[in-house]
């Protein structure tokens, strides 16, 4: 059983019911999600990326039952997202993006209050508070006095304190300083080690690269890529810079090597995919210096973010997914 499963999930705003037909008949509906099909495996940390307004939050809100899908279906922990919302939320921890908290309550009271709705005890609270450096003195203050970072920490604690089977985190490290981000990543690693699933949306690509096992990219409500982080990075173009003290190696016809430029003993090219043919080609060459710039998720991400037609982006995604586990990963056009 997958932790999250969506099939043809579609959400359009507008034109609902009699009021929509009467009042907005000439307006096109907003297509927030278009036939999104994905599966999140149990025990993985799954990154959900996309530009602002791409449909990330809409998808999360459908999973939690805040929004009703126009078409398609979503299952969370094997339960129907529309029908079984209460049972799902009993097993899920959720951190909304830009979380709003009850300002008049103290941090401790807020955690007690929000935790009291669950049957599970807040078993992880102490660990989370320690990890995120929220001291008892901080928790005794009203939330209205908290900085943005402290609010975010409190949001993370309220989402995870009851040790949920699945955590859905919308921009979780927003407002955290680098030290706290690192502490948060350690918490995520612990979640994975404990066999818990995390579904997180983020704009911080280094964070996604650091913590996620797989990533999905949405754009204009459509899923344009879904694959292992490692596979995504392996396919990215790396830039190679090489200095040679003699004749440069011939890189013509070497798989994955393109854009070779040689100027005054300085060779520059791009390298995609498997690095071994390239290494074999330069073996024995008089190389005095070699730099292979590591592939970054950012490049892959920006490629999918570029303003192309959905069909084109979808084709790119289909290519990206070649050779991966197609049962769990579907690319929509």
């Amino acid at each position: 059983m997958n932790a999250i499963e969506t099939v043809g999930l579609t959400k359009r705003y507008g034109l609902h019911g009699a009021f929509g037909r009467l009042g907005r008949g000439r307006r096109d509906p907003v297509r927030a999600l278009e036939e999104v099909t994905l599966a999140v495996r149990p025990g993985e940390i799954f990154g959900f990326l996309g530009p602002n307004g791409s449909g990330k939050s809409t998808c999360i809100r459908v999973l939690l039952g805040f929004l009703h899908p126009t078409a398609g279906a979503a299952r969370v922990l094997g339960l129907d997202a529309e029908r079984d919302g209460v049972a799902i939320r009993a097993r899920v921890g959720y951190l909304p993006g830009g979380i709003a908290l009850y300002d008049g309550m103290t941090g401790a009271d807020l955690l007690d209050y929000l935790g009291s709705f669950y049957d599970r005890p807040p078993a992880l609270r102490t660990r989370l508070l320690d990890g995120l450096e929220l001291a008892a003195r901080d928790l005794s203050r009203p939330v209205r006095d908290y900085s943005r970072g402290m609010r975010q920490k409190l949001g993370i604690v309220q989402a995870l304190q009851h040790d949920p089977e699945l955590a859905i985190l919308d921009e979780p490290s927003e407002g955290l300083d680098p030290l706290m981000q690192r502490a948060f990543y350690e918490i995520l690693d612990e979640r994975r080690a404990a066999g818990r699933t995390v579904f997180l949306s983020s704009h911080i690509l280094s964070e996604v690269e650091r913590v996620c096992d797989r990533v999905a990219i949405v754009r204009r409500g459509r899923l344009v890529a879904l694959e292992e982080i490692g596979a995504l990075l392996a396919r990215r173009r790396r830039t190679v810079e090489m200095r040679v003290d003699g004749p440069p190696p011939s890189l013509t016809g070497v798989p994955g090597v393109t854009d070779v430029v040689v100027v005054d003993g300085h060779l520059r090219c791009h390298l995609e995919g498997d690095v071994r043919p390239f290494l074999a080609a330069i073996a024995g060459a008089p190389v005095s210096d070699l730099t292979i710039e590591p592939a970054r998720l950012e490049e892959a991400f920006l490629e999918f973010y570029e303003d192309r037609e959905p069909a084109e982006a979808g084709a790119a995604a289909a290519g990206a997914g070649a050779g991966d586990d197609r049962d769990a990963e579907r690319t929509e056009q």
């Binding site: 705003y13 809100r61 929004l67 209460v86 049972a87 939320r89 709003a100 908290l101 669950y118 309220q158």
Partner: protein, 270 residues
């Protein structure tokens, strides 16, 4: 209904509840004091014919006046001052509970817990009703304290006073149910509050105009306030159909709210 949410709601609203209750208790007490101190003189002035039928007409709404104890009791429940005070909770709380939480973004945090929207709605309704019961009990307490302290308690029929209180609870429960239905319908407080305040003011104006202007008497049944006639209750001539009408409107508003709130989309707060 959720006991956890109800406890938290009552705790969060306790100071507002106490302030409104103190205001209404003082108001009820003061009207009895005015009746006991000046009631006879005011009655002589009215009966002297100096104002023609004007005072009679002005006191027609709800039968409120300060020259009978029954009229003073009626006035303590139906005067715009008491209506405004009760509305702080009967309208203010439903607005804050759904549209307000939605606007602030805290409804999302609450609904991320294992609690259904119907339970959230039911709890908001129960809390509104408890607030209304509480502040109207304070009003009642103020009336009884005033009548006792100024030695006019023997003029009071306690059973009828309790009926006035119960009818007032029903009226404001209806107002609260309408407010909660509006609050469940909108994402922001302003439109929901605007509609409910407009309904309440129009309703009051319709009853007032219908009472003052015989040609408009036919529109009075369209007013919520028409179904709360404390002076008639104190005189023992009220119609039980008033309570039936208010209960019917309440049930309709609650049914609508319970239907619309779980079905509507809750998009990300803007």
């Amino acid at each position: 209904m959720s006991a956890i949410l109800l406890r938290r709601t009552l705790a969060a609203g306790r100071w507002r509840l106490l302030a409104v209750a103190a205001g209404l208790a003082t108001w009820g007490f003061m009207l009895c004091a005015v009746y006991a101190t000046f009631g006879a003189e005011i009655r002589r002035i009215v009966e002297g014919g100096y104002f023609g039928d004007l005072l009679d007409a002005l006191t027609a709404i709800g039968g409120g006046s300060v020259f009978t104890l029954g009229g003073s009791v009626a006035l303590s429940f139906i005067h715009p001052v008491s209506i405004a005070l009760v509305a702080v909770l009967a309208i203010g709380h439903p607005m804050a509970a759904l549209a307000g939480e939605r606007q602030r973004g805290t409804l999302e945090v609450l609904l991320a817990r294992p609690i259904s929207r119907r339970r959230v709605y039911g709890t908001a309704l129960a809390a509104t009703d408890l607030f209304v019961v509480g502040v109207l009990a304070a009003n009642l307490g103020g009336v009884i304290a005033g009548a006792t302290l100024f030695d006019v308690a023997d003029e009071l029929r306690l059973d009828r006073l309790l009926l006035v209180w119960a009818n007032a609870v029903l009226l404001y429960t209806t107002v609260g149910a309408l407010a909660l239905a509006a609050s469940a319908t909108f994402d922001r407080v302003a439109p929901a509050l605007g509609i409910v305040v407009a309904v309440a003011i129009t309703s009051y104006a319709v009853e007032l105009l219908g009472a003052l202007w015989p040609e408009m008497a036919g529109v009075r049944p369209w007013s919520l306030f028409h179904y709360f006639q404390p002076a008639e209750i104190m005189a023992g001539v009220a119609s039980p159909m008033d309570a039936v009408a208010l209960a019917g409107i309440s049930v309709a508003a609650i049914s609508y709210g319970l239907w619309v709130f779980p079905r509507r989309d809750l998009a990300a707060p803007s």
